[in-house]
Amino acid sequence: MLPETDKIIEVEDLTVEFRKREGSLFAVNGVNFSLARGEVLTILGESGSGKSVTLKAMMGLLPGYAHVTGQARLNGKNILALPPAELTKVRGSEVSMIFQEPMAALDPVYTIGEQIAEAIVQHEGISKSAAMKRALELLERVSIPSAARRLKNYPHEMSGGMRQRAMIALALACSPTVLLADEPTTALDVTVQIQILLLLRQLSEELGMAVVFVTHDIGVAAEISDRIAVMYAGRFVETGTVREVMRERRHPYTAGLLASTVHGGLRGQDLETIPGAPPSLAALPPGCAFAPRCRSVQETCRSGQPPVVDFGPGTMVRCVRAVPQMAFA
């Protein structure tokens, strides 16, 4: 286990409730994780599982009717409790975020160079020309060919893969300690996706940057992660190293998700499926949220929350059937 001091970000009991006139929606229901330098954690889940909301809550990007509680300690301070002016300073310099749609995240009326330089000038107060020089280095860092020319490009003049690289360069502008990545490769073609995944892996190793990567794609998770957290109905149902989660599949949802993942080896066979659909976040069942779809459901699953069974540091399963085998051996 890592000593406490090595953890650069610690999220504790993060909950997000969307309060609307017609009722409350519980999108994130008590999420805990911590990350060391250079570590990549993937939050794996289907649409509506709360994975993107978790990231947006950490960046303070949720709308006013979102009620966020819990803690996210970054370099010793709880970023969820910071006043807006303080949060603006932290955003971009200590924690930054990349998105699925670079076209929507970049400003269409400024060149790539201007956007990156602006962030550096804002946070570090250096001159515009010095910031431009840094912007050029950053574009080279993310392997954009003919970077000097690309600096003067507007977002629409670049291809999808190039724009995604430019957005990564912008996110890295002030050397953040934590990068939050919200499905950054989902909209890309497969030959470009693998380039971006390799780039992110390399950057996190070289810069010692912790990455929280959100995806619904198990293949992408297997390529990028050190650790995986499987999310269902706003909770982590299983966490562990990428090998543990993909091989052991201790939670029935993880097992179902992996078994229903299509690959060529299954030709001619019926695919295993998880029956039904995820529960409504406005009316979560009182017990385990997965119980209505679970093949090995028991009576106790429907009445109360399943126990969190520990399998060692950073590895847990939220299921009554999970038995810690040789945990102390």
Binding site: V190, V220, A222, M246, S260
Partner: protein
């Protein structure tokens, strides 16, 4: 594996089992790009350029490729949703649109399509049962009979008609809506169904349910599928034969086993090597391909892949490669494996891009 013996005899069959259900010959579509103050044509997008293939009765033909490769334009051209610049279709021996062939409306009776966006392909102001019954009514069924047919179809795609038939599209989940779209496509009892990224927008656990449904319907209703997707895993799972497209042209075609285990075109190999692994101990270490696919406006001359190909030579920029049997054909190699590549050494280099 696909075998002709598995195909049931269809009473509507005209050409016999050996006659492909659909033959596509020299399909071409260029879109003009207008610009400038006078809105003159300034460039052309060569979306689909001389694409030929055939779909056998009872098979699943998969079309894979990245965005801009022309796979969806091909589907729309087949359905005659857009008019091809040139090229022709032959459906079960009958030329389409010609004086002695079948008309486009007859073709659409036998060939239907399911789109990726399950919401925009249903009328938001119609209960789903009416959406499904619409085409049969237009083709002469009484309102009551069309409705009954729609309810039978709903049950076939796994939605209880008593519970769901009066629902509107926004009241259903994505997976349920895609089931409705499949029912709508089947309402005219087509023989060929074009599935254009039909499962791409669904969550993984729902995608598996819909894929199972598609396989079940195919067996029960004696269907033939043209399955278009960017997802290499799904195409490998469901297809009997595969067509690989790059920038508007077919670069390789063959039985699914041959394409996935012995890919001959450098692009097919790079595409397969880019597929994320499901094994954390076999992560991708080396980039199979750098850069993005070029813009289909003014694509490279000759072989369109040459700008990203590590084998490219002078001939590749001068001559358009045609689809031919690969070199060094082994005795057990399938005869319908074709590749559009000039260079024997590039074709023989399979295995080189394997993940470390």
């Amino acid at each position: 594996m696909f075998a002709a013996s598995q195909v049931k005899q269809d009473p509507r069959d005209r050409g016999g089992l050996a006659q492909p259900l659909l033959i596509v010959e020299g399909l071409k579509k260029y879109f003009p790009v207008r610009g400038g103050v006078l809105n003159r044509q300034v460039a052309t997008v060569q979306a689909v350029d001389d694409v030929s293939f055939s779909v056998r009765k009872g098979e699943v033909l998969g079309i894979v490729g990245e965005s801009g490769c022309g796979k969806s334009t091909t589907a729309r051209l087949l359905m005659q949703l857009i008019t091809p610049d040139s090229g022709g279709l032959v459906f079960d021996g009958d030329p389409v649109g010609g004086p002695r062939g079948i008309s486009i409306s007859e073709l659409r009776r036998q060939m239907q399509m399911v789109f990726q966006d399950s919401f925009s392909s249903l009328n938001p102001r119609m209960p789903i049962v009416d959406s499904i019954a619409y085409a049969p009514r237009m083709h002469g069924l009484s309102a009551a009979a069309a409705r009954e047919r729609a309810e039978t179809l709903l049950a076939q795609v796994g939605l209880n008609p008593r519970q769901y038939s009066r629902r509107y599209p926004h009241e259903l989940s994505g997976g349920q809506r895609q089931r409705v779209n499949i029912a709508r496509a089947l309402a005219l009892e087509p023989r060929l169904v074009i599935l254009d990224e039909a499962v791409s927008a669904l969550d993984k656990s729902v995608e598996a349910q819909v894929l199972n449904l598609l396989r079940e319907l195919k067996a029960r209703l004696n269907l033939t599928y043209l399955f278009i997707s960017h997802d290499l895993n799904v195409v490998e799972y469901i297809s009997d034969r595969v067509l690989v497209m790059y920038l508007g042209r077919v670069v390789e075609t063959g039985p699914v086993e041959a394409i996935y285990s012995r890919p001959r075109h450098p692009y097919t190999r790079a595409l397969l090597a880019s597929k994320p692994t499901l094994d954390p101990d076999r992560r991708t270490r080396h980039l199979p391909l750098t850069g993005d696919p070029p813009n289909p406006i003014n694509p490279p001359s000759g072989c369109r892949f040459r700008t990203r190909c590590s084998f490219a030579q002078a001939i590749c920029s001068e001559v358009i490669p045609s689809l031919l049997a690969p070199v060094d054909l082994g005795a057990d190699a399938p005869t319908d494996h074709l590749v559009a590549c000039h260079l024997p050494e590039a074709q023989a280099a399979f295995g080189e891009h394997d993940v470390a």
